[in-house]
C-alpha cells in the first residue's frame, strides 16, 4: 500500500490516478461529466466521455483503446494463410469482408490470378456478410432506441445467415480465413444455392416487418438528429454509408471495382439530409441492393477451381514477393484498407490496417455529439454503425 490516502485526495479534488485537478462542483452548477461506455451493451468496448449541462452535451471526447489486440504486429510473424485467420478478428461483425481485403492485398503482391469461381464465391460471401452486418446494426440501433423487439427480431434473423456461414465455412461467426490468398479455402457444399435463396426470402420478410416499424419507432427518434453536413463529412473523413447519407454518391465497389463488382448490376443508395434517419435509410436500401447482388452471383457462378494453388503451403516454403500495396474495399461500415509491405520473406514486413471506424468513432462522433441531447446520444452513436474492433485493431 502506498502512503497516499485516496479519501483525502478525493476530498481535496485531486484525482488519485493522476495529477489532473477536478473542479469541485458549486451548488448552482448544472455541468457534470458522464461516461457513455466503455462496458455497456449499448456502446461496445468503447467509451465516450461526455460533458453535460443538464441534458445537453457540451462536449464529447472519444475514449478508444479497450479492444486493442495488436493484429498488425502479429501479422508480421505469420504467413498469409495464417494471417487470413487473424484477419477474421479485425471486425467481429463482418469477418468475411476483412478476409477479402487481406486476401486482395496478398494477391496483389504475389500476382496470382484468382480463379473465376473463387471471385464469385468471394463476392457472394462478402455480400452475405454485409447483409448480416446491417442486420446486427438494425438490432443494436433498436436497442439504443429502447425498442427491444427490433433487437430480438434482428438477432433471430441474423442467425439464418450464420447458418449459411456455418454450412460453407465451418464456423458461424468466424470463417477462419475462408477467403484467403489465391481464392477461397473450400468449395461451396451441395445445395448451397437453395439454402441461400430460402434465407434471402426470410430476410425479405424481416425487411418488410422493419419497414412497418419505421414510422412508429425509428423516424421520430432519428429525424433531424445528428446532422452531418456533406462538407463536414468530407472534412472529417467519413466514408461508406455515413458519407452517402450526407449526399455523396461514392462506393469503392463502383469507383474502384474489385473482384467481379464491375460486372454486376446494383445501385448506390444515397440520401441528402445527413441525419441519423438518412443513415438508417441508406442501410435499409443497401440491404436490398446486397440481396440483388447475391441473386446475380447465384445465377452466374461458374464451375471451376476455387484456389490457386489448391494446396496450402508450409510456412517454410512460403515466400511473398517483394513490394508494397494499398488495397481498399467497401465493407458494411465504409472503406476498409490494408497497406502491406513485403521484403521477400514468408511473412509481411509491415501490415497497416485502416478501418472505416477510426474516423467515424473519433472525429465524426465527437462532432455530432456536441450540442445534442443526452437521450439522442445512442441514436447518433448507432446511426454511425460503429465497431471498435477495427479501430483498436
Amino acid at each position: 500500500m502506498s502512503g497516499r490516502n485516496i479519501m483525502t485526495d478525493q476530498m481535496s479534488g485531486k484525482n488519485p490516478t493522476g495529477n489532473e485537478q477536478i473542479e469541485p462542483a458549486t451548488d448552482d452548477s448544472t455541468e457534470y461529466d458522464f461516461y457513455f461506455g466503455p462496458a455497456h451493451s449499448g456502446s461496445g468496448n468503447f467509451g465516450v466521455k461526455l460533458k453535460l449541462d443538464g441534458e445537453r452535451v457540451i462536449s464529447a471526447r472519444a475514449d478508444p483503446g479497450y479492444l486493442h489486440r495488436g493484429f498488425e504486429k502479429l501479422m508480421e510473424y505469420r504467413t498469409p494463410i495464417q494471417n487470413a485467420v487473424i484477419s477474421d478478428r479485425l471486425c467481429v461483425l463482418e469477418p468475411l469482408n476483412w478476409n477479402l481485403v487481406h486476401a486482395e492485398a496478398v494477391d496483389e503482391l504475389t500476382g496470382i490470378e484468382v480463379p473465376e469461381r473463387a471471385r464469385y464465391i468471394r463476392v457472394l460471401m462478402a455480400e452475405l456478410s454485409r447483409l448480416q452486418s446491417h442486420i446486427i446494426w438494425y438490432g443494436v440501433m433498436s436497442l439504443g432506441l429502447g425498442f427491444d423487439t427490433g433487437f430480438r427480431l434482428a438477432f433471430g434473423y441474423r442467425d439464418y445467415i450464420l447458418d449459411i456461414f456455418e454450412l460453407i465455412t465451418g464456423g458461424r461467426c468466424y470463417p477462419a480465413g475462408y477467403i484467403c490468398d489465391g481464392g477461397v479455402r473450400r468449395d461451396l457444399p451441395e445445395g448451397y444455392a437453395e439454402r441461400i435463396k430460402n434465407v434471402l426470402d426470410k430476410i425479405k420478410g424481416f425487411m418488410e416487418n422493419i419497414k412497418s416499424f419505421d414510422n412508429l419507432f425509428f423516424a421520430n427518434r432519428t429525424k433531424g438528429i445528428g446532422v452531418l453536413k456533406l462538407e463536414d463529412a468530407i472534412r472529417l473523413g467519413a466514408t461508406g454509408p455515413v458519407l452517402r447519407a450526407s449526399g455523396m454518391k461514392t462506393d469503392v465497389r463502383k469507383d474502384d471495382p474489385y473482384e467481379i463488382y464491375s460486372e454486376l448490376d446494383f445501385d448506390v443508395p444515397t440520401e441528402k439530409q445527413g441525419d441519423a434517419n438518412a443513415r438508417c435509410t441508406v442501410r435499409d436500401r443497401e440491404m436490398e441492393e446486397s440481396i440483388k447482388i447475391i441473386k446475380q452471383v447465384l445465377d452466374r457462378i461458374p464451375e471451376g477451381k476455387t484456389r490457386k494453388p489448391s494446396r496450402i503451403k508450409r510456412p517454410s516454403r512460403t515466400k511473398i514477393p517483394e513490394g508494397e500495396v494499398y488495397v481498399r474495399n467497401e465493407i458494411a461500415r465504409g472503406e476498409a484498407c490494408i497497406y502491406m509491405r513485403s521484403v521477400g520473406e514468408s511473412a509481411p514486413y509491415r501490415v497497416k490496417v485502416r478501418g472505416p471506424d477510426f474516423l467515424h468513432m473519433i472525429p465524426v462522433l465527437e462532432h455530432l455529439l456536441k450540442g445534442c441531447e443526452l437521450a439522442d446520444v445512442p441514436a447518433i452513436y448507432w446511426s454511425l454503425n460503429i465497431c471498435p474492433a477495427d479501430m483498436d485493431r
Partner: protein, 128 residues
C-alpha cells in the same frame, strides 16, 4: 395505418413458431464442414510435422508416445492443445495423409482444462 401494421407483426409473433429451440432437448443440425474437436488417426500419420508448422497458435507439438507404444510408433506425433486452438482447420487442410480431421463435436466446456490436451494415442479396439 403503420400502427395497425406494427401491431399485426407483433401479434403474429405471439402465434408463430419461436426462432429458438429448447436446447439441450433439441439441437440444430451441425453441418459436415464444421470445425469442431479434432480426430486423429495415428496409423495413417506420416509424422511430417506440417500440422505443427502451419498452426497459427502453436497449439500442436510433435511428441513421442509413452514407452509401451514406441515399438510400433517410433516417430513423433501431434499433440493438440485445445486450450490454444482457434479451430481454424489449417492443420486439417495441410495434412496430406488426411489423418487429422475436425469433427462436429462442439461440447468442449470442462472444469478440467488438462483434459483439453489431446495426446496422440493408438486407437482403442472397436474405435473406427
Amino acid at each position: 395505418m403503420s400502427m395497425v401494421k406494427t401491431l399485426w407483426v407483433l401479434v403474429e409473433g405471439l402465434f408463430s413458431k419461436p426462432m429458438t429451440i429448447k436446447f439441450p432437448h433439441e439441437a440444430i443440425e451441425i453441418p459436415d464442414a464444421y470445425r469442431g474437436e479434432h480426430k486423429f488417426d495415428i496409423d495413417r500419420c506420416a509424422s511430417c510435422g506440417f500440422c505443427a508448422e502451419i498452426c497459427p497458435n502453436k497449439a500442436i507439438e510433435m511428441v513421442k508416445l509413452p514407452e509401451q507404444y514406441t515399438q510400433k510408433y517410433k516417430k513423433t506425433y501431434p499433440r493438440i492443445d485445445l486450450r490454444k486452438c482457434c479451430f481454424c482447420a489449417l492443420c486439417q487442410d495441410i495434412c496430406v495423409k488426411k489423418c487429422l480431421k475436425m469433427t462436429k463435436n462442439v461440447f468442449l466446456a470442462t472444469p478440467d482444462p488438462a483434459s483439453l490436451i489431446k495426446d496422440p494415442m493408438p486407437k482403442v479396439q472397436g474405435e473406427e
